[in-house]
């Protein structure tokens, strides 16, 4: 038997994807993707279905071979190393537990594959069962467990052999909201405790923002932007990223003038001033502002703020925040979320001013280049 290339001895690995491409027949699932995944980081691959995020995860796992490009781990080329020799932990959508094995046998499986001694396996399984809070369920078959419990078994099994990378493919998609939030906390804790590199696939933007040290946003097989959650949320580089990560107001600007790190343009009869980080932007642009950065008042705020005249179409009470739907004079829709406690309710259909600090708005290209 040939000597297997054993990887994954390091506690956490760093991965470098270089110009990865994947085509299925005529369909280009991934286009020229280059991405560095840092040692011990929690990277989320975020995008709508069919965006290429799962294809990329499968290439990382070794289940799918890329059509182009190389994959490096800790400086070694692993493009052609098969999945069984990569030794990554993986949590599948639907968990993929072994239905014929009990909880402890499931967790012991990867350890047995590695030829660990039975004493070692017993100790490690006990540790993992305790770590994911399944004490008392060791002898049960997966079908006797709830969704959340099955999820914990999948996590324990994937982490039992201390993989250098843990890949998670939409692990929470089958759980209800409360359980989902609990499991998110759990995964965050496991990441901190193990220090392993986590790569997490989801289509849920709030999950991505809540969990990750960095988020990579995919659409149509392309990596559009990668950055810390606050970077991608507050400084998206294009309209797809801006709109996918949450609601955003887009105001078309005329007569755009760039002046160092500031930009100014006309919206209706007001001059809108924005901080600006994209000097290469075209002549037509939109001002982008998140709903929670805007406030509503009877008079415009002046110093350091932009303000536009609107009238209130509708208000939705959501508990902690109240969400207002407004229209500008030219009919552009505006959404504003404000803390319910901080504001007196505004009368329906009243004329108001919507204001926001100039540093909270940013410029985006007018055309949505990613959806063209």
């Amino acid at each position: 038997m040939p000597q297997r290339m054993q990887l994954g001895d390091a506690k956490a690995a760093e991965i470098k994807a270089v110009s990865i491409g994947k085509t299925f027949g005529a369909f280009r699932a991934l286009k020229d993707l280059s991405l560095d995944i840092g040692r011990g980081e929690f990277l989320t691959l975020l995008g709508p279905s069919g965006s290429g995020k799962t294809t990329f995860l499968m290439i990382l796992a070794g289940f799918t071979a890329p059509s182009e490009g190389r994959l490096m781990m800790d400086g070694k080329d692993i493009t052609d190393v098969p999945a069984e020799d990569r030794s990554y932990g993986m949590v599948f959508q639907g968990y993929a537990l072994f239905p014929h094995l009990t909880v402890e046998q499931n967790i012991a499986f990867p350890l047995k594959v590695r030829g660990r001694s039975s004493a070692d396996i017993k100790r490690r399984v006990g540790e993992m069962v305790e770590r994911v809070g399944l004490t008392g369920h060791e002898k049960k078959l997966p079908t006797k467990l709830s969704g959340g419990q099955q999820q914990r078994v999948a996590l324990a099994r994937a982490l039992a052999f201390e993989p250098s990378v843990l890949l998670l493919d939409e692990p929470f998609s089958a759980l209800d909201k409360n359980l989902r939030e609990m499991m998110q906390e759990e995964v965050k804790r496991l990441h901190q405790e193990t220090g392993t590199t986590f790569v997490f696939v989801t289509h849920d933007q709030s999950e991505a923002l809540a969990l990750s040290s960095r988020v990579a946003i995919f659409n149509h097989g392309e990596l559009l932007q990668v950055g810390r959650p606050q970077d991608v949320y507050e400084r998206p580089e294009n309209r797809f990223v801006a709109e996918f990560l949450g609601e955003i107001n887009l105001l078309p600007l005329d007569a755009l003038r760039l002046d160092g790190d500031k930009a100014a343009g006309q919206f209706e009869d007001r001059t809108i001033v924005l901080s600006q980080t994209r000097p290469q932007i075209g002549p037509k642009a939109v001002a982008a502002v998140r709903p929670e950065h805007m406030t509503i008042a009877a008079i415009p705020q002046n110093a350091g703020h932009n303000a536009i005249a609107c009238w209130i179409e509708d208000a939705t009470y959501l508990g902690a925040v109240t969400k207002y739907h407004l229209k500008t004079r030219s009919g552009t829709s505006i959404a504003v979320s404000m803390p319910t406690a901080a504001t007196a309710p505004f009368a329906h259909r009243s004329d108001v001013w919507v204001s926001w600090p100039t540093e909270q708005g940013f410029l985006l290209p007018h055309q949505n280049e990613t959806r063209a």
């Binding site: 796992a61 070794g62 289940f63 999945a83 069984e84 020799d85 990569r86 030794s87 990554y88 932990g89 993986m90 599948f92 959508q93 639907g94 993929a96 537990l97 072994f98 239905p99 014929h100 499986f109 990867p110 594959v113 590695r114 099994r157 052999f161």
Partner: protein, 276 residues
């Protein structure tokens, strides 16, 4: 199931039940009567079934042949089902062909086909002798070996369906998960894939075994009278030696035995596992 649904099911099954009742149950009750009345009233024939060395040896041979056939069928059907479920599209077509074609040919034709291959002056012996590999023909037919070959061939498709259905039910991600954990192909096959098909295997084993117990045509032709199985013994007792009572008693014992096996089958496996 609600009451109306139950009565509707019974109504739909009525023609079949009526037919089975008139064509099988009623005549079989006659057979039961013979077993306790011929030649004189009493349980004498059952005592003979349990003590007669000839009857005993036929029962033991039948069980032996059925066990060997079941084992051989399971191994081959497993391989065919594997190719059928997990092979490339060409392999799947080929497997389907191998499963369906024997179905279209009568059991009698197939038995004679095997005879043409296996007998002393059959194709295999002629070729081997012509090639100088053997000088005397091998005893391939008119013995237990021939019976086992013929029965195995006949029964393989019946085992392929339940096994393939169990294989189809396996979640691909479970196998991927095992691979991702570093398991080799053989480990994935033996410790994940095969255990997940146990239900289908048990179902297939019971179907094949029960079916094999009552085989008549294949052993009669390929056994050449030297490898008599229970069904043939019943035939001989009734049609050749006028010993209707013993023949009837053997039949009753065989039906009871099969009944017990079917009851076990119902207990251990869902009917859905038995069909493709």
């Amino acid at each position: 199931m609600g009451k109306s649904a139950t009565s509707r099911t019974i109504l739909l099954l009525a023609p079949l039940l009526l037919f089975l009742g008139l064509a099988y149950v009623v005549p079989f009750l006659g057979v039961v009567r013979w077993s306790v009345t011929m030649p004189e009233p009493g349980l004498g024939q059952y005592r003979a079934v349990l003590t007669d060395p000839l009857v005993q040896s036929v029962f033991i041979r039948t069980l032996r042949i059925c066990l060997i056939v079941t084992a051989a069928v399971l191994v081959m059907a497993y391989a065919i089902a594997y190719v059928w479920v997990r092979g490339t599209s060409t392999q799947r077509m080929l497997a389907e062909f191998c499963i369906l074609v024997p179905f279209w040919i009568s059991v009698l034709t197939r038995a004679f086909g095997w005879l043409a291959l296996l007998s002393n002056r059959g194709l295999i012996n002629t070729w081997l002798q012509a090639a100088g590999i053997i000088s005397e023909p091998l005893a391939l037919a008119r013995n237990e070996f021939g019976v086992i070959v013929g029965m195995t061939h006949f029964l393989i498709p019946f085992a392929v369906f339940p096994i393939a259905s169990a294989m189809r039910a396996i979640d691909e991600r479970v196998l991927l998960a095992a691979r991702g954990m570093g398991a080799s192909r053989s480990r994935i096959f033996w410790s994940v894939f095969v255990p997940l098909t146990y239900g289908g295997l048990i179902g297939a084993a019971l179907i094949v075994f029960v079916f094999a117990l009552g085989f008549f045509v294949t052993p009669a032709i390929l056994g050449g009278g030297r490898s008599v199985m229970v069904a043939e013994l019943v035939y001989l007792r009734i049609f050749q030696s006028p010993d209707w009572g013993l023949g009837a008693a053997i039949s009753v014992v065989l039906v009871l035995f099969i009944g017990i096996l079917l009851a076990l089958m119902r207990r251990f496996i869902k009917p859905a596992h038995l069909v493709g």
